[in-house]
Symmetry: C2
Subunit: 338 residues, 2 copies
């Protein structure tokens, strides 16, 4: 009864949201595709393997350095499909707009969505617009759902990590979250920082080519809940242990500084243009090289590996030589981050 | 510049929302699938014909006689896919919940979604939950998107109406809108009335069997904007004229009474479990009979036909023998009706 009301924590992507999904949603919508809890659903239809994903965007502020709610909504669903091993193809856009929202801002958002769709190579083929009376929603919320096609030889899923896999992170972490936070709080000490909002499908295509399709076992974009939560999900689903090395995790100086000042752990902060890849050791160099050749992977690094004990647990080797458990995010650090 | 802010009218499903879609969205997301403006997108992927649809639900109140926002969200997307000629298969659910929303109400909504999905024979395979701070959304908004499979011999689209087609309406109109309105305004003169929220896919399957697949040219569920707006869309897209007969349109006495009292035209009020079918004359009796054999079509009636002049226009033969133009809904009658 202590949880008799919905808390911000229930939307955090961390422990409490996972519990709600498992306790309330999975028993009702009882099926194996949903229960796999990948970034999107993976299923077969008339012999064609498809991915299907949905996400609602409620970010505040709706305009921020590096993007706006529009490209965030396109890139987010493009990336979720990509993390299923799919080539993203078709998107839907559902708008909920507050009465009185300036038309020119909507126009800017729609145009940015169009540019983002073009950059990712996807097509928006269906949509819906609802307008709610002033005061019943905050400016604009956007849902995007998407369909992608999974090539025959590609099998990635969050239960597919294997002992010995190298864990590659595509670039610096927490840029998006710290950008939003500094904007929201009116902090100005990070003027050059911007959101990493980006489509990752083109880079992933290069990665699959480099790995001949078969060496990449898991792909995950560490959005809400950050790298820490994403790794915990993979460790749990794959029943393997993970060790990452603090020193290897790409992190901008200004982001590290902001985190220290504000008391945030960057491991749990949201990214909107980064991915984690679990790659067989023999393919890891080729995949890393492919990532580094892409603008969205230029700072990619091997940050750790899958170990052969402690299934379900994630460990961090700290800079000072210690080893600590990285738990799943417990509560909400930053509401309306995406 | 008079439209420099978003108005409730922009979400009405009528004239102004159509203008915004055409002027702002279509040029940006430039593609033929979207431009067809069917209830969902119809496309082919690796030789498989699919339908893809999205809708956000913001209904107020969220619980009402005959259903709640949960079954409305499932049935709405099931019906949109069905109107594309598709067999609805897989749905996504995106929740935006206001902080502080009672957990037991969410649980009731989710369970109702589960029951509605089961009744329609669809599976919820992916989802997303966002929680926003108190005061930034009103209770709960739900997006559902869905994927359906279109059988090879079936081709329905809103540009496919043909001269001589009979127009069949599956039952009484405006039940949903008047139910919501009376609830919202605290009116109590319609105690027995309830929303018609229902999945129409099983009935449509019977209709296709009765018409050997080929005699049904257009299917449309007259939700926001009502029968009047839906018929105008079809007349415009198919470039044909339509004549309907007022006396033939099924309408409950209490709904007629409420409309008269409150000054609403039932032709423009939302339905959530009704459909319009344009059927070749030779198949119309068999299709009507199939509809009447289904609980959701027991009051089905031929309400008019496609005429061979006045393309793009809809006419109503009134009870007193007159003939008037039924225009597309201009503004919003009832915000947050679905």
């Amino acid at each position: 009864m202590k949880n008799d009301k919905i808390l911000l924590d229930h939307g955090s992507g961390g422990k409490i949201s996972h519990s709600m999904t498992k306790d309330m949603m999975l028993p009702v919508f009882d099926n194996a595709i949903l229960a796999a809890l990948n970034d999107g659903a993976i299923f077969e239809l008339e012999g064609v393997r498809l991915a299907f994903s949905t996400d609602s965007y409620t970010v505040d502020p709706i305009f921020f350095p590096g993007g706006n709610i529009g490209d965030l909504a396109i890139n987010g669903t493009v990336n979720d499909l990509t993390m299923c091993g799919a080539t993203p193809l078709y998107l839907s856009v559902g708008l909920i707009i507050e009465e009185g929202f300036p038309m020119h801002r909507l126009d800017t958002i729609i145009k940015q969505m169009g540019r983002a769709a073009k950059a990712a190579g996807v097509t928006v083929i269906t949509g819906d617009t609802k307008v709610v009376p002033k005061g019943t929603a905050d400016q604009i919320f956007i849902n995007t759902s998407g369909i992608g096609l999974i090539p025959e030889h590609i099998h990635v899923a969050c239960d597919n990590a294997r002992v010995g896999d190298k864990i590659i992170l595509s670039g610096t972490i927490a840029d998006h979250a710290i950008t939003i936070l500094t904007q929201r709080e009116g902090l100005s000490f990070e003027t050059s920082l911007q959101s990493d909002s980006a489509p990752l499908n083109h880079m992933v295509k290069k990665m699959f080519m480099a790995a001949a399709g078969i060496g990449i076992h898991v792909l995950r974009d560490p959005t809400r809940g950050g790298v820490g939560t994403a790794l915990n999900e993979i460790a749990e689903k794959s029943e393997i242990g993970i060790e990452i090395i603090e020193d290897k995790i790409p992190l901008k100086d200004e982001v590290a500084g902001a985190c220290e000042l504000l008391g945030f752990d960057p491991l749990y902060l949201a990214n909107e243009g980064k991915l984690l890849a679990f790659v067989s050791a023999e393919n890891s160099n080729a995949v890393l090289k492919a990532m580094k050749s892409d603008p969205y992977g230029k700072d990619a690094a091997v940050i750790g590996e899958v170990i052969d004990d402690q299934p379900g647990k994630v460990f961090l080797k700290t800079r000072i030589g210690g080893r600590r458990i990285v738990d799943m995010l417990a509560g909400e650090q930053l509401p309306r981050i995406c």
